[in-house]
Amino acid sequence: MNPTPTPPATADDDGSLDPQQAAALLDQTTQQARRQFAFSPPLLSVLRAAVVLGAFGGIWLSVHAQHPYRGPSSGALTIAYVLAGLVIGASAAAMRRATAGVSGAAQRKRWVGITVMLVAWAVVYVFMAALDHAGAGSAVVFGLYPATAPLMILGLVGAADAAGREDWLATGSLLSMGVVSAAAAFGGPVDAWLVMAIGLCAVFLGTAAVTAWQQRRSLVRP
């Protein structure tokens, strides 16, 4: 984009913009607004990519030499919970920033979607407790299931919600999360963690790249 200086904001009707200046101002303002209203900015997606790599990769390191499978070590789980807390905190801060002063039907729908996703996530762990109660083996209860089911359900529920809002980037990203999680289950209780680490890292990095491209996309120039 041509780096035309932004004309000063005045209260009068000074229509001194030529088309090039108008195009530059329109693109600059739109890009700034897109960044400020972004629920999931590119840097947050990069952080998510690093966290899934660290958390799932750490758990895989703690289980990959286990024979028989006993489950993730408490150290690896602690690191995973701390990293998850970091992402949740960063996501909440990004949401607060994006929604400050914003109201309306689309906002309400988004919050309803987030609430449904959180409930779905909690339900996944209730079912995990039911599996344990029913006597399922530790390879399932503490391996395959927690490695894949929570993010698979979260991804699929989130994708349905995002599709309802016609947010196609979020739909693609969340659907990919569900697909990667389902595919990871074929890795078994040990390698599922590794497939999740690499697969989700790739999904989040791809999301970051597409988000950055969308935010910079010009309205005027093809």
Partner: protein, 111 residues
């Protein structure tokens, strides 16, 4: 096509910024006056003048809730305002399609 054919209501720096900012929100969402003011960087008086002109043309709607210090004003782009911005963007695109790019334009340097 000439620049005279661009919508004069939008073809003013401040109002172009207001409309472009509100258009970045999903359809049906509104923005508080104070956040819009922060984002545009205008004094309240100046912003009100421009908002009034856009509201008179039915390009945006405003709503005030509460009383006194707790009152809150929100503004949203109407479907007419969104259509006007779309038409303005298309007109700009058509205009620039026939204009050669300047020497500092990265699009030109790339070719």
């Amino acid at each position: 096509m000439t620049s005279d054919e661009l919508d004069p209501l939008i073809h003013v720096p401040t109002r172009l910024k207001i409309v472009a900012t509100l258009a970045a929100l999903p359809d049906g969402d509104a923005l508080s006056f104070t956040r819009l003011q922060d984002m545009i960087g205008l004094t309240p008086g100046n912003l009100i003048i421009h908002l009034r002109k856009l509201e008179e043309a039915d390009y945006l709607s405003s709503e005030k809730t509460g009383n006194g210090a707790a009152s809150r004003t929100t503004v949203a782009l109407t479907s007419r305002g969104r259509a006007a911005l779309d038409a303005y963007t298309k007109a700009l695109r058509d205009l620039l399609g026939g204009v050669s790019l300047g020497p500092d334009d990265p699009e030109r340097r790339r070719t």
